[in-house]
């Protein structure tokens, strides 16, 4: 298979990472060599294999529905690049 520049542009959009032409070409080269390597998996027949989603063979523990941490507003906002009172500030989204 081959990943072309159009596909790179599409993935970059999905990833929310901007790429220019030069970077797109470099990424296409890298991704193609990585996917050539990944293609090896197609040698294996896996029709009747159950996918492994977690190695930990346990079920999630239940807990009572109680609030354990309160009044974290200042902590939550503390590392924000831009805030106004209790809100995160982002570029305008509604005209």
């Amino acid at each position: 298979m081959s990943i072309d520049l159009k596909t790179i542009k599409h993935i970059s959009k999905l990833s929310r990472i901007s790429v220019d032409e030069k970077k797109a070409e470099k990424l296409a080269g890298d991704l193609n060599s990585i996917f050539d390597f990944i293609e090896k998996l197609n040698e294996l027949k896996t029709d009747n294999v159950e996918p492994l989603t977690s190695v930990a063979e346990t079920t999630l523990k239940l807990r009572s529905d109680e609030v354990k941490s309160k009044n974290l507003r200042d902590q939550v906002i503390k590392n924000s690049p831009k805030e106004n009172e209790d809100y995160f500030v982002v570029p305008k989204v509604i005209e």
Binding site: D30, L41, P51, A56, Q75, P81, P91
Partner: protein, 485 residues
């Protein structure tokens, strides 16, 4: 002073409990040595003044019943430390100061240890040489311009150079064991679910585990018993009976069955790795272990599986870095433009590459062909180990397919960099514990490691085997302090 930093963790604990050394004396010695070792670039953030103050406070009213009474320790910069910058080696977290503490580090401070600083690592733990860090390369104390391994490269360098008595790293595909092997130190990747992931910057959540990196097996056991606790803040933390690993440590491994997987004899493996492995088998026999040939038939599929599963999980985990809630923000013309510029300028090349791979394999039309396929092969890889453990108690392999390489040697070829993890990745995919111990040197005098892989939750057994073999191997790290002027 200089001989304080030469002591192992166990010796330092003994000396402080015997009142032969104070926390201030020990902390001062490690801080001074760290300050003289800036050329190694092992630290991202130093916290020496606070460490010295805490040591002084400790000495005023020492609690000598703790496991790490007043012992200074630097940790990988992937663990969130309250009120001390945590970067994960990334520009995007360059100014992030956590308001909470990771469970693993909290456990360590609860036993009296003192934080000295945060250690360099590959960006978001994605790398095998520490070269993807936003904060620059780390030098391997073994030789100038040699990589210390990765992603826990600052950690391996700091332990080998004795800038910290012991440390913790994280291991998603080999990030504790490979750097340990490259620096002649001991590194343990515990069973998945053994150490809490709460407060560790996430890379690939079904694979990530924290673990100790130490100068010897006993120290490693001592730290493992402190960091391994059940934690309700991590939904994948497993509630099993944990040993007091250091107390139950024994060199008596007579009759233990150790498997040798034939598939780990990979094409193009240097002869010295083969020789090392054979020597390891002899050491294990000398310790009274029984050697059994086994097969792990899907070994060759582990790396391709890993390079689907890990980037897929990473692309999802790293979606949170959007320039809104914390971390770096690049200004944009609108919201989408701000997201795209923030992530393009904030993440380094390797992280962007992996996010793109992950996004692609999870995208509409490709999910079944890649991600689902990888999950199925992951099951086959785990089944291989389950079958092997019907016959053996542990598995012995080389830790890495080569010794440490030069800085810049593999940066232009991602696949050749990924091949570094060929022996360590299957262990993460199967969720098993694995330990790397130094076992010899190559022709250049660089250290080589052997890996012992255990059954799930059987850390005690692999620690015991490592402890017994360590004595037979009698490895000596050859470090000349070349970076100290």
């Amino acid at each position: 002073m200089s001989d304080i930093t030469k002591q192992s963790l166990s010796e330092l604990v003994e000396n402080i409990k015997g009142k032969k050394l104070s926390s201030s004396e020990i902390t001062k010695a490690f801080v001074e040595r760290s300050e003289k070792s800036k050329e190694l670039n092992a630290y991202i953030t130093e916290d020496y003044a606070n460490a010295l103050n805490k040591a002084k406070t400790f000495d005023e009213k020492p609690n000598l019943d703790l496991k790490f009474p007043g012992i200074p320790m630097a940790v990988k910069d992937l663990f969130c430390t309250k009120d001390l910058r945590t970067t994960a080696g990334s520009k995007i977290l360059n100014n992030f100061v956590p308001t909470y503490e990771s469970t693993v580090t909290q456990n360590i401070w609860n036993e009296g240890a003192i934080l000295m600083g945060k250690l360099n690592c590959d960006e978001f733990a994605m790398g095998s040489s520490n070269e993807t860090s936003f904060f620059g390369n780390v030098q391997n104390p073994i030789d100038k311009n040699l990589v210390p391994g990765g992603s826990s490269g600052g950690s391996s360098s700091a332990v080998a150079a004795q800038l910290t008595p012991i440390t913790i790293g994280t291991d998603t595909g080999g990030s504790i064991r490979q750097p340990a092997s490259f620096t002649g130190t001991v590194g343990l990747k515990p069973t998945y679910g053994s150490c809490s992931r709460y407060g560790i910057v996430a890379f690939a959540s079904s694979l990530d585990q924290a673990g100790p990196m130490a100068q010897n097996v006993k120290d490693c056991a001592l730290l493992q018993e402190v960091i391994s606790t059940y934690d309700e803040k991590d939904s994948t933390s497993i509630d099993f009976k944990r040993n007091e690993y250091s107390k139950e440590l024994t060199k008596d491994i007579k009759g233990k069955k150790i498997g040798i997987p034939k598939e780990y004899r990979v094409d193009g493996m240097p002869k010295e790795i083969e020789v090392l492995w054979k020597k390891g088998i002899e050491y294990a026999k000398d310790c009274g272990a029984e050697i059994i040939d086994i097969s792990l038939p899907h070994t060759n599929y582990a790396l391709p599986t890993y390079y689907i599963v890990a980037p897929a999980e990473a692309s999802s985990n790293l979606a949170r870095y959007d320039g809104v809630k914390y971390g770096f923000r690049a200004e944009g013309e609108n919201l989408i433009d701000m997201y795209e510029k923030t992530r393009s300028e904030g993440f380094g090349a390797e992280v962007q590459r992996r996010i793109m791979i992950g996004t692609y394999v999870l995208s509409s039309g490709y999910y079944d062909a890649y991600y689902l396929k990888a999950q199925k092969v992951r099951k086959l890889i785990k089944n291989d180990f389950d079958d092997a453990y019907k016959k053996v108690d542990a598995i012995l392999t080389p830790s890495t397919p080569s010794s440490a390489f030069k800085i810049g040697e593999k940066t232009n070829d991602p696949v050749s960099m990924y091949l570094n993890d060929i022996f360590t990745v299957p262990v993460n995919l199967a969720g098993l514990p694995g330990i790397s111990i130094p076992a010899g040197h190559d022709a250049k005098g660089y250290p080589l490691g052997l890996q012992i892989i255990g059954k799930a939750f059987d850390e005690q057994n692999i620690l015991n085997i490592a402890y017994a073999m360590e004595e037979k191997i009698n490895f000596k790290n050859n470090i000349t302090d070349w970076w100290i002027k």
